[in-house]
């Protein structure tokens, strides 16, 4: 143990988190451990959200619609000014890769926890990133390195033929699969382009779309980077994110079962080349597609924290969020971080309020029960709790369940055990998919690709007769044991609990008023 006096001074006094949900809470926790006061921001829909309750302070930033709150540079900067924050952590999504936002943060005299705005601009534009990667000698997916006609006209038949089918429309400002559409034939491009553009505009405020060949079967493997402001770069291993629906990740693991030492060497080399080609510091992920022969193609470089960063934290023991903040304040990465060995195997499943039996469609509502697993090697990063009402305005990610164990079979057994300890009430989640996945022979062998969900799950198997028998047993017992009546009888309790939390809200409001800088 280091003595207290040897501990570094808190890198900042106060930091604002321009995000919500589980990632805001993740950053709040890092702040608390570093001795930094955290400032949450919240829209009208989130006034009583968990991240607001956990932060040291909270500032309102406007109406429920993300465009008017979490995506509003003005609202967030004015919250930062009111709260006296010295730095802004953007989390992921929202404004995290918005160069104009990062520039505005810096222009306001605050530190942006991320790379320089110019780097964001260069890499956030996936089209520009393709050109950068190519120039750095990194293989890229065959495609058109120009934006598609904004006036509704698609690429010419010649151009399409050169890319080949199936092809993929992608948003230049994209991420998280939004604004992406698969096309099988020339005549599909018109309507697909319109939808992709609309989705990209709604999600990123930028409808620029480009076209790549769809590589299939493929695995989605990414490399985690952490760089400081002094030119040092740590390559913190890879994550396999091939279990996806709608081009959005559902499950991530590290190391990738498909990556041999030789492939790993090549992936790390490509990741280093790209990082070397841009003015980079802070956390970033370089995403690649890995084809059936183990060849890799650059997809994009995300210069922000990833949803799945926890998987890397488990196998490296590094607090990525803490280090993001420390390098933003100018700290050097020490040797033990630059040379961190990776240990064991980690798997994350994303718990979404989505119905995997109906095409993973969002399934809003109120969370009535929330029972999370615990025990050795289990980590849960959640953004909701019992009685949270889900807002249809935002991403349906509820929590991330992660496990860490000595090797992949042990991690799978641990995940299976943890899933059996988990229950969420009130909303259909994708937990049924995850429970199925840990027993799927292809996943268990590690021989899966990005087609797994569509090809092996579809809408999932029917309810097994054995499970139907257990379900009726539970329901029958619930009726006989008057579980519903118990809920009514506990009404007194529920009221008291609600009263208490309202009191906590009031106490917070008072505290915020008192502590607001004059």
């Amino acid at each position: 143990m280091r003595k207290d006096e040897a501990l570094p001074r808190a890198p900042f006094r106060r930091l604002l988190i321009a995000n919500r949900g589980e990632i805001a809470i993740r950053v709040i926790r890092a702040c608390r451990e570093l001795g930094i006061e955290s400032v949450a921001v919240y829209s009208d829909a989130d006034a009583r959200a968990m991240h607001v309750m956990l932060a040291d302070r909270a500032e309102p930033i406007g109406p429920a619609r993300a465009a008017d709150s979490y995506l509003s540079t003005d609202a967030i900067l004015s919250a930062a000014r009111r709260s006296g924050a010295e730095a802004v952590h953007p989390g992921y999504g929202f404004l995290s890769e918005n160069a104009a936002f990062a520039a505005a943060v810096e222009a306001a005299g605050l530190v942006f926890v991320g790379p320089p705005p110019a780097t964001l601009a260069g890499l956030g534009d996936k089209l520009a990133a393709r050109r950068t990667a190519s120039a750095a000698g990194v293989p890229i997916v065959p495609g058109l390195s120009v934006a598609l006609d904004a006036n509704g006209g698609g690429p010419s038949a010649d151009e399409l033929a050169r890319v080949g089918f199936p092809a993929l429309l992608k948003a230049a400002a994209g991420g998280g699969g939004r604004g992406m559409r698969r096309i099988e034939r020339t005549d599909e491009i018109g309507p697909a382009l319109a939808l992709a553009r609309q989705e990209a505009l709604a999600a990123f405020g930028d409808g620029t779309i480009y076209l790549e060949r769809l590589i299939a079967p493929a695995r989605h493997v990414e490399v985690q980077l952490l760089g400081d402001r002094h030119g040092q770069l740590a390559v913190l291993g890879e994550r396999d994110c091939s279990v996806q629906r709608r081009h959005q990740k559902l499950v991530e693991e590290s190391p990738s079962p498909a990556v041999t030492p030789a492939i790993r060497e090549a992936l790390f080399d490509s990741a280093r080349r790209i990082a070397g080609a841009v003015d980079f510091h802070n956390a970033a992920t370089v995403e690649f597609l890995l084809d059936a022969d183990g060849a890799h193609y650059f997809l994009e470089m995300n210069t922000r924290l990833q949803v799945e960063h926890g998987v890397t934290e488990l196998v490296t023991g590094i607090d990525l969020v803490g280090w993001q903040i420390r390098v933003a304040a100018g700290e050097r990465l020490p040797g033990e971080i630059l040379e961190t060995p990776r240990q064991g195997h980690a798997i994350e499943v994303r718990i979404y309020a989505e119905d995997p039996h109906h095409a993973f469609r969002p399934s809003g509502g109120a969370v009535t029960a929330w029972q999370m697993p615990s025990g050795p090697g289990v980590r849960v990063d959640a953004g909701v709790e019992a009685d949270t009402v889900l807002s249809p305005e935002y991403d349906p990610l509820l929590a991330k369940l992660m496990v860490h164990a000595a090797d992949r079979p042990a991690a799978l057994a641990r995940l299976r055990r943890a899933l059996d300890e988990t229950v969420i009430g009130g909303v259909q989640t994708d937990l049924s998919f995850h429970r199925w996945l840990v027993d799927d022979p292809v996943f268990v062998r590690g021989a899966y690709d990005t087609g797994l969900v569509a090809e092996r799950w579809g809408d999932g198997p029917p309810v097994e007769p054995g499970d139907a028998a257990i379900a009726v047993l539970i329901a029958g017992r619930a009726r006989l044991d008057r579980v519903a009546d118990a809920r009514k009888a506990a009404g007194q309790d529920v009221v008291e609990r609600a009263g208490e939390s309202r009191w906590a809200v009031e106490a917070r409001r008072e505290a915020v008023k008192e502590r607001r800088p004059r």
Binding site: L431, V472, R487, A490
Partner: protein, 154 residues
């Protein structure tokens, strides 16, 4: 248990044997159950005859009726078997981004009616059967809740 009629998707199911259940949180319906091999956390939500059991992450609707309730229910079903006008409702809350029909539009089963944006995803509401749209209750830009009526088909 033997004096209850237990059904999943309308099919009578015998309760599993060899499982012990204890209520961890009876107020919320959280149960721990085991058979000596598996240990699971599950959930029962509902009241009267309508229950939803969450088991291995899956929400399974279960009908729990006394025999008397069962006979009454069967008598009701027999009188309701006629096809009349239907109201198409929203299955999830969100924002209406497009309405593809107006009152008077003839639709066939599967036709796109309304596009709802929820959690940043666009979801199409399709015609459950053929007919003529007689009323449209929403317009692009309307904010709707789950269960809100969207339109009527006759």
């Amino acid at each position: 248990m033997t004096d209850l009629d237990l059904r999943v998707a309308g099919v009578a199911v015998s309760p599993a044997e060899g499982w012990a259940i204890s209520w961890l949180d009876p107020a919320r319906g959280v149960a721990r159950l085991g058979d000596g091999r598996e240990l699971l956390i599950a959930l029962a939500e509902g009241s009267g005859s309508d229950w939803v059991v969450t088991l291995r992450g899956r929400r399974i609707a279960v009908s729990v009726m006394t025999w008397r309730e069962r006979m009454l229910a069967e008598a009701e079903i027999a009188t309701e078997r006629s096809a009349g006008p239907i109201s198409v409702t929203a299955t999830l809350p969100g924002l209406i981004v497009a309405v593809a029909v107006v009152a008077g539009t003839d639709v066939v089963e599967g036709d796109a009616l309304v596009t709802i944006e929820a959690m940043k995803m666009q979801n199409e509401v399709r015609a459950p059967r053929a007919g003529r749209v007689t009323e449209v209750h929403v317009a692009a830009g309307s904010r709707i809740g789950a269960g809100d009526p969207l339109l009527r088909i006759e």
